[in-house]
Symmetry: C2
Subunit: 205 residues, 2 copies
Amino acid sequence: MDFDKSILSFLKPELVDTILAESEIKAFPKGTEILREEQYVKVLPIVVDGLVKIYSRFDERELLLYYIEPAQSCVMSFYAALNNTPSKVFAVTEEDSNIILIPVQYLPKWLQEYPKFNELFYHQFNLRYSELLTTISNLLLDKMDKRLYDHLIRKTEMTHTKTIKISHGQLANELGTAREVVSRVMKKLETEGKVTQNSGEITVL
Amino acid sequence: MDFDKSILSFLKPELVDTILAESEIKAFPKGTEILREEQYVKVLPIVVDGLVKIYSRFDERELLLYYIEPAQSCVMSFYAALNNTPSKVFAVTEEDSNIILIPVQYLPKWLQEYPKFNELFYHQFNLRYSELLTTISNLLLDKMDKRLYDHLIRKTEMTHTKTIKISHGQLANELGTAREVVSRVMKKLETEGKVTQNSGEITVL
DNA sequence: TAGGAGCTGTGACCACGGTCACTGCACAGC
DNA sequence: GCTGTGCAGTGACCGTGGTCACAGCTCCTA
């Protein structure tokens, strides 16, 4: 399949060709569950375009951890793949996405032969680690109104559109809270003139 | 300096010798601040013995992230060292500790030449990532009484003693809450017969 | 057209924990 | 002695958000 190789331009062209020769690029429609918790991972995903949502499930509650944007990889599945241990998180495509699937057996070899490839994953690990830190900071310090508003802002930034199609219940899941709480806070944000909403659509002003 | 090399036995002896030839092993007394936030890192620490506490500061509040036990390393400072970026966390010795300090300039070379060395850090990253996940889970789901009690239990497990010398204020910092809250909950744990305390000492029953 | 499913809006209730304002205690140094 | 400092204990207050119990809405399908 054709795609814009410039997305991997930070890697040496020689490495890009090696990767593409052995890997599959697959299209996943929006909403596909590409990684289940406790699943043993056979391929390592690198997102080419689209958007993948990574979340965890604690008890009955869920919490969005971060998004994987183009040219990024899911380090949890990377480590799970390298060591044949189950993954601890879930991954779902938030938009139609094309994803490179690298078979795990090539990883040790490429990691050793291509320092840039190695660096890529250290960088990804660091990125996710930082995002978890800010998630922790938000949980510890911020009230729901700020958490929800920031979350909506982030969504508009990533999808490059001011209007989001999502239900209060889904938002509640992403923030690890209850549906009623989201409804309450959304109403507050609406009266504050920060958003408008009607029937499953939210517009950030 | 002498120390028990068996602690690094998971690495090839050849690699251990290489590391020790170029690195310094330094003794840090309990309570030494060995890593400040926003500090540029020139050496990579690997704990030989003792215990190092890693925490972060959000606004005015602190939160303990995890402990570094013998044969472990601080991946945040690892990444910071590799890329010459400032660290985002603090590190303080919780006990007298001996720590190997590897000068950063050897890292790229050794990472490429010794796959085991590389694996060590992937493993550490994954470990910390998992610990941050459980921290998030605790913040999201658990009440203070459970968080505090679990925290005390963990402390006794790591120091191999039932009695902990710590003030309520310090505990509050580690849990990201207020001193009064810790006092309140400690009283509750005491009446429940889970702990006893007198003047800066807490004994877990 | 009646019923069901899924979503939103709301009011009431209440536990948890953050904050304030103290008091009491121990211990150190002057 | 007195005073300052640091820690523990406590009562009062109250905002946030989790929960329950509904009611109302749209849309789909039998």
